[in-house]
């Protein structure tokens, strides 16, 4: 279709104006949001409530006060980690459904590290050590499906789902059988590596769980962006995700990239464990992940697999989740789960990365 560019030989640099790129990226999520809002209206009406009043309440309870906003930030932090983990895998053409167990394993390892460190160890030493422990644990859980895929061709969707059961059961066994504080299902409290809360910096956030893990999440998002779009490894990773045959032809070891991508995806999800363990409760509790790993899939999809998009999507899903609590007096908070589902379905239908992974490597005919 080069026919129309006969005039002149000067070189043009702009393929698409950035505005067009942005529109392409934002359009599907915004339509999804609109669809969800309409569904929400109908649901609220069916409970005999006024949509306007309920939405106002929702906004007041989330962004309208510092406590609510802090809670949204806290929830968004974990979702950012798991969303980044899923999107990182998808960029390599892998669907990591194991975020749930990678997150849990990371949190568990962070708690163990925190317990092992001497009381009062300085944060600058304790935090990196706890994060390394969390990342390593998540990385191991991610590496196993990566290895199975590379070595035996076992599909990572199956293996990560199955590994979720194995890892969560193992963790439950450790906690229930060995490490718990009597009468509870959590470890003793750690005294090293505890992250400051936002409330410690700005007292208006008092009571909310938001903590400095938020900053770690943003740093990780920027790092992921840089790696994917500026580093050679990211060039190769995306090549494998888009067209494994072409990557192989170019001398990229597809298996090695898959292995590495699954491992790092697990690392990112694992580090997410610090939000709860180091930032909020200061112990590991059985079942703390409670779906955040799975919701990471939706966050990655709505965020269009872009690190910045993932941060925005994490914030959005956290708002829905916190908002559910705020409106519970008028309509059941499960309504928010329904809305989440609607958003996920609407976006999933329009995200090219998903269709590509589900359909396998695709080919397209010449124009």
């Amino acid at each position: 279709m080069s026919a129309s560019v006969a005039s002149g030989r000067q070189l043009t640099f702009s393929a698409k104006p950035w505005r067009e790129h942005l529109e392409e990226a934002l359009f599907p999520p915004l339509v999804a949001l609109l669809v969800a809002l309409i569904c929400g209206d109908l649901l609220i009406l069916s409970y005999g409530q006024s949509p306007a009043a309920v939405y106002r309440l929702l906004l007041e309870g989330t962004w309208g006060n510092a406590y609510g906003f802090g809670q949204v930030l806290y929830k968004a932090t974990t979702l950012a980690f798991t969303g980044l983990a899923v999107s990182y895998g998808l960029r390599a053409g892998l669907f990591n459904i194991g975020g749930e167990s990678q997150l849990a394993a990371g949190g568990f390892a962070a708690a163990l590290a925190g317990l092992a460190l001497p009381v009062g160890a300085p944060l600058v030493i304790a935090l990196p050590l706890c994060m390394i422990a969390a990342g390593a644990a998540g990385g191991v859980v991610g590496a196993v499906p990566g290895y199975l895929r590379t070595r035996f061709g076992a599909h990572e969707v199956i293996t990560t789902i199955m590994l979720n059961f194995v890892v969560l059961a193992l963790l439950n066994w450790f906690i229930a059988g060995h490490l718990h504080v009597p009468e509870t299902l959590h470890t003793p409290e750690i005294h090293a590596g505890v992250l400051p809360r936002l409330a410690d910096i700005d007292s208006r956030f008092h009571g909310s769980a938001a903590n400095l893990a938020l900053v770690v999440a943003i740093v990780v998002a920027v790092a992921v962006w840089f790696y994917l779009f500026r580093a050679r490894g990211g060039y190769e990773l995306r090549a494998v995700g888009l067209q494994p045959d072409a990557a192989e032809y170019g001398g990229i070891s597809v298996g090695r990239v898959w292995m590495r991508a699954m491992t790092w995806s697990g690392v990112i999800a694992g580090v997410g464990g610090i939000n709860y363990v180091l930032g909020y409760k200061h112990y590991y509790e059985d079942g703390f992940a409670s779906g955040a790993g799975f919701l990471g899939i939706a966050v990655a999809l709505v965020g269009r697999n872009h690190p910045i998009g993932v941060l925005v999507a994490a914030f959005f899903f956290a708002t829905l989740s916190q908002g559910g609590l705020a409106i519970h007096a008028f309509v059941p908070k499960q309504m928010m789960d329904v809305l989440q589902g609607v958003v996920i379905i609407a976006v999933a239908m329009s995200v090219p990365e998903v269709t590509r992974v589900l359909r396998g490597a695709h080919r397209r005919s010449d124009a």
């Binding site: 279709m1 080069s2 026919a3 129309s4 560019v5 006969a6 030989r9 000067q10 070189l11 043009t12 640099f13 702009s14 393929a15 500026r230 580093a231 050679r232 490894g233 060039y235 190769e236 995306r238 090549a239 888009l242 067209q243 045959d245 072409a246 990557a247 192989e248 032809y249 170019g250 001398g251 990229i252 070891s253 080919r363 397209r364 005919s365 010449d366 124009a367």
Partner: protein
């Protein structure tokens, strides 16, 4: 005089900034074979998509058999008897020929169970009527490419098509299969069917068509009777300038290859490669390509050429034998290590292997050499941009925009990106597999010149092509591959299309030196 079968006038169609058709026209008389020719990106496919109802024109008028049908749907087009045979087969491989043909309108017993016997009979009858011989009960997955294409043609005829549009039907066929197809098309025409043939191959146009429409840059530049023209004139109309048709021209032996360092070329010894079903797809093949030499491999597709090239490139494991590139034994080496040893590779399928379609032209130009464009693991974007500008200028890649996705380029320009990349890096051995497939005349000439220049610079080149003309025109020596072996290797001075053809279909066996 009856109304023309197809009349398209003043057709305009844009895709964003790309103006694919601007005032294009087409007039096809009833009962003729009409060739639609033009370079890649000239707007042929767009025009045919409009005719087939896949797209609506921005402006212009479409008439079929005298009725205004502008902006109709695919269902309307099918109902009116328009049948499009696509370049890429659209068959279900796990179903039989008959099942594929009746798909969507299956004959049923009492409206529930599919009536296989009736389907088979219908297909057999149609097959006899048209001369498209095929066994209805065979699985499509067992068919050869030529047979699969016959099924595609039968499929549209089965739906009652009287106006057939064939998009590059011979791109994947061997010479005997092409001849068979010609017979069938002539027979259909003599039965009163109308045929529109999209093609790049001028010899086909001249041999088969009654009338020719030439398109260039979205416009119709000529409509001529085939009898009144010559291949050279058609080529000139397509490209808009004089083109040297390489067919018939032979390379002259080189005196002494030039180069900074003696290149030792490619050496292959007793190479055997296993296929997916445990068959030896390449069996005990030995040859060498000297620096400054082009060894051409001719053969009907599917005789092991693809597997041979993929194995040499490191994309398939070696079962037995040795591969030596410029003195380095690379038999067990990875793709990347072979690059380092001096191997470059123009793959046969640019969409699957050669390009990452979503990547920009600039990013595609560093695939496989991305290490050279990065420092401490970070890609040097300035260097990538400079490299892209240089390649775009020296290879005349259009549109000249390094940040455009490779997908947005026409086939010929996509191929130029691949060729620019593979010939732009230091190499001593080049594997060129179907280097001009689906590429327009102007780009073919350009790519051929690049290959000849590389030869002059002392590169060893292994050329695989389904185009006998191409092999004959470029090679110093020619090997014919038949059932995984070299049936013959001969100096190209002694080769002719007829002689090679006999080896290609296995009618003759020679001494594979």
């Amino acid at each position: 005089m009856s109304a023309p079968a197809v009349l398209m006038e003043g057709i305009d169609k844009s895709f964003g900034p790309v103006h694919a058709n601007r005032g294009a026209s087409l007039e096809v008389s009833k009962g003729e074979i009409h060739a639609l020719v033009g370079e890649n990106g000239a707007g042929k496919s767009t025009l045919m998509r409009i005719l087939g109802g896949l797209m609506k024109p921005d402006a212009g008028r479409v008439e079929v058999n005298g009725h205004d049908v502008t902006g109709w749907s695919t269902n309307d087009a099918i109902a009116a008897g328009i049948g499009v045979v696509h370049q890429h087969f659209m068959l279900v491989p796990t179903l039989s020929v008959a099942e594929n043909l009746v798909l969507g309108c299956e004959p049923k017993v009492r409206g529930i169970v599919m009536d296989y016997d009736k389907a088979s009979d219908d297909v057999r009858k149609l097959s006899n009527d048209t001369g498209l011989v095929i066994t209805p009960d065979r699985l499509v997955s067992d068919l050869s490419v030529g047979e699969a294409q016959r099924v595609e043609i039968l499929k549209v005829l089965f739906r009652g098509a009287r106006i057939l549009v064939l998009d590059e039907p011979t791109a994947v066929l061997s010479p005997p299969e092409v001849r068979e197809l010609w017979t069938v098309l002539r027979r259909l025409r003599d039965n009163g069917d109308t045929i529109v043939l999209i093609t790049h191959r001028l010899d086909e146009v001249v041999e088969l068509s009654d009338t020719i429409t030439v398109m260039r840059a979205g416009q119709t530049v000529a409509r001529i009777k085939t009898a009144d023209t010559t291949p050279a004139e058609i080529a000139r109309l397509m490209v808009g300038r004089e083109v040297s048709l390489s067919a018939g021209k032979r390379v002259q032996p080189l005196a002494q290859p030039t180069g900074p360092r003696p290149n030792q070329g490619l050496e292959v010894r007793n190479l055997t490669v296993m296929g997916s079903r445990g068959i030896r797809v390449v069996e005990d093949v030995s040859f060498s390509v000297k620096p400054g030499e082009i060894l051409g491999i001719a053969g009907v597709e599917g005789n092991g050429q693809t597997e041979l090239i993929e194995t040499l490139a490191g994309l398939r494991p070696v079962f037995a034998g040795d591969i030596v590139i410029d003195g380095v034994d690379v038999t067990r080496r990875t793709v990347a290590e072979r690059h380092t040893a001096g191997l470059s590779h123009i793959p046969e399928d640019r969409h699957r292997r050669g390009l990452i379609l979503e990547y920009t032209v600039a990013d595609n130009l560093i695939l496989g050499v991305e290490k050279l464009f990065s420092k401490h693991g970070v890609i040097d974007r300035d260097k990538v941009g400079q490299n892209a500008l240089h390649a775009i200028q020296s290879f005349d890649i259009r549109p000249p925009n390094p940040v455009l996705a490779a997908r947005a380029l026409s086939g010929g320009n996509q191929q130029k990106v691949v060729v620019a990349r593979e010939m732009g890096r230091g190499f001593s051995v080049l594997l060129a597999s179907q280097p001009t497939r689906g590429v327009d005349v102007g780009a073919i000439e350009f790519i051929h010149q690049q290959l000849l220049d590389a030869r002059e610079h002392g590169k060893a080149i292994l050329l695989v092509s389904a185009e006998l003309n191409e092999v004959l025109a470029l090679s110093d020596r020619i090997a014919v591959m038949y059932r995984g072996k070299f049936a013959v290797v001969m100096p190209s001075a002694e080769a002719s299309e007829e002689a090679l053809g006999e080896y290609m279909i296995g009618a003759k066996k020679g001494n594979a030196a």
